[in-house]
Amino acid sequence: MILYTIKRLIQGVITVWFIATATFFAMHGVPGDPLMTDKAMSEEVRKNLDAHYGFDQPKWKQYGIYIGHMVQGDFGISFAQENRRVNDILWEHFPVSAFLGILAITFAGLGGILFGALTARYRNRMPDIVIMFLVILGISVPSFVFAALGQLALVKLNAFFGTSILPVAGWGTLSHMIAPSLVLGLGTMAFLTRLMRSSMLEIVSSDYVRTARSKGLPTTRIFLRHELRNAILPVVTVLGPSIAAITTGGFVVELVFAIPGLGRYFVQAVQQLDYTVIMGTTVFYGAFLVFMVIVVDLLYGLIDPRVRLE
């Protein structure tokens, strides 16, 4: 297990290096290198940038400097805002996105497992039909429509009760987080529900569940010990990639609900052509996703003994 962990971490670091390199060459490689030629900045910023990134040096040296900074966890300084380090920006906005994302994935995971088990249990009956209809909707409706509808629903809800049940936008308190994280988790929840359902159906008719029944175990015990635990495994394996999906959805939800997260900031940075922030955020997010996948895989090892001993 320890060996496996180390192996995965090394792989992860190499992958992050690749992401950083790809980002660097994407930014510098195109004709008219924006990092070198963009004029719309003050003298002072230009000087700072040259000092920090070595823009006055040859390309390969710049690359060395860049990777050197990355290794130290330094993502550089902002193009658009004077004297602002990219790290500060990440530090300020990322926790908001992360918190939103964690809430959303928790909600999506629990909901997916619950509804998936429910639909499998009541296969082809009312709960199954209703939930699967909603799931198909959930998979086919884009996240920004959920966000818009969610906000519309909040407006109507608050109007109906005449007071503010939940805030329509903004960030800060728990009540601000509920609606956006629900909205953000919906698509993933639908996907996980579908996965859980098919996994559950497969397991319900598996040989070892038949064995469990032949042992005369009570239904609840069979459900918890033999069906649920095994059915969850495939759901856990896709949690890693799901985090990426949630991150993507986060961009929209942050925009619509006016949440000061990294996604919204990134869109702003793009509009302002704040290249260093764009690069920093890209590498940071890439690294984050790579390591989340590793974390999920390691967690998977804890619940599936077959992986644990590899």
């Binding site: 992401i19 008219g32 998979i139 086919s140």
Partner: protein, 462 residues
Amino acid sequence: MNAALSFRPIVAERDVEVISRPSLSYWRDAWIRLKANRRALVSLYIVIALGLFTVVGPWLPFVPNHSAQDLDQISSPPGADRTATIVEPYVPWSGVTVNAPGGQAPLEAPASVSLAGEATTQAVRIFWDPVRGAHGYRIYRNIAHPAPDDALGMPLADVLVPSRVSFEDRLDIKPQEYFYSVVPLDRNGREAPVYATLDVSAIRVITAEEAVKRGLAGSTADLAIGDQVELKLHVLGTDYLGRDMLARLMHGARVSLFIGIVAPFLFILVGILYGSAAGFVGGRVDQVLMRFADFVVALPFLLFMILFRILFKIEGGDSGIAPMLIAMVILSWPAAARLVRGQILQIREEGYISASRLLGAKTPYLVLRHMIPNTMGVILVTITFAVPSAIFTEAFLSFIGMGVAPPTPSWGSMCNEGIKTMLTYPHELIFPALFISITVLAFNLLGDGLRDALDARMRSQE
């Protein structure tokens, strides 16, 4: 028990049952299975209908040009009343003045607010009872009743002459209900905490000249004051610039479906080439190639999509379609490559390739002859599932303003525009969202059906 049992032996004429099912070709069999799947079949029809919608739609007689603006009908929902009454051209209004009654604070609300003449889209004229001691008035307009939380809406104007107790509103009036609130101002121009509200329903009017100019009537001679004319028909209403929703949806479908279908084809093609190279060469090369594919998968997709867009520097008038296609291809090929490689390794294992190689066939020939047809089914399913996710990506990027650039319509950018008026004119968001959802749904269900149809067939081959 049967009385007449005969124990005469029979040998020859027994009907040995033959469970015979005509052996069908791979694709015919899959097609029959697909047809048996009602959801998949309906989805197939929807996809075909969408194709017609996109290609034939814009030529239909009731579909106007997608970029033409109808300024008489801005943000009008489908099925809205289209009648307009012919009126005289606008003549200025002198307003209402009184002797301002002096007095002391506190200021009270005007005793009443009234309408002068008819409220039309040309002008709404209101006047009110003077308030004792008021030094002026501020007029607000809202589309909802101000009570209970005193939301008066948009401040239209301040009347700073105490003797003037009227106001003429000509600001972009729509044929709908408005609530005008009048707030008295004190000596310092501060609002008193009181107001009076008038509920007004503006009717749509048009002058005879305008009606002729818009092509609603032959000549001014045919029109008398008070006549009613019908404005142009917009089947699904108009957007915030008065453009026909249906026409824009059809035009947007071109962009969305083009990206949604062409991008998967391209990246799956790249994937096939890459994957079959890896699978066929095998060994070290295969390992290196697949390692690289793993790296590409690890790139944060959305951020890189946006990165590419910046790099291509979308200029004004540039639709942004080409950069999006290129970026999608660059980032999305590995999944297909992995799949094709897996299939090819499997087929190689099965050995009939080596058999035919022994017989002297050349490698490229082998690839064509055996592998492509065998992996075709899986690839078809992959494409079907890649379409909805490409449509999603386009919509998503356009929605956050990082995709197709205005004024080119795409369903995603239409949603982006629609969300701004979501509370008042939901149809501008709902229609494009509906089209995205139905398309994605249809392709997903079709993909499910195809997979089941081809899968079952694959299984029975074992």
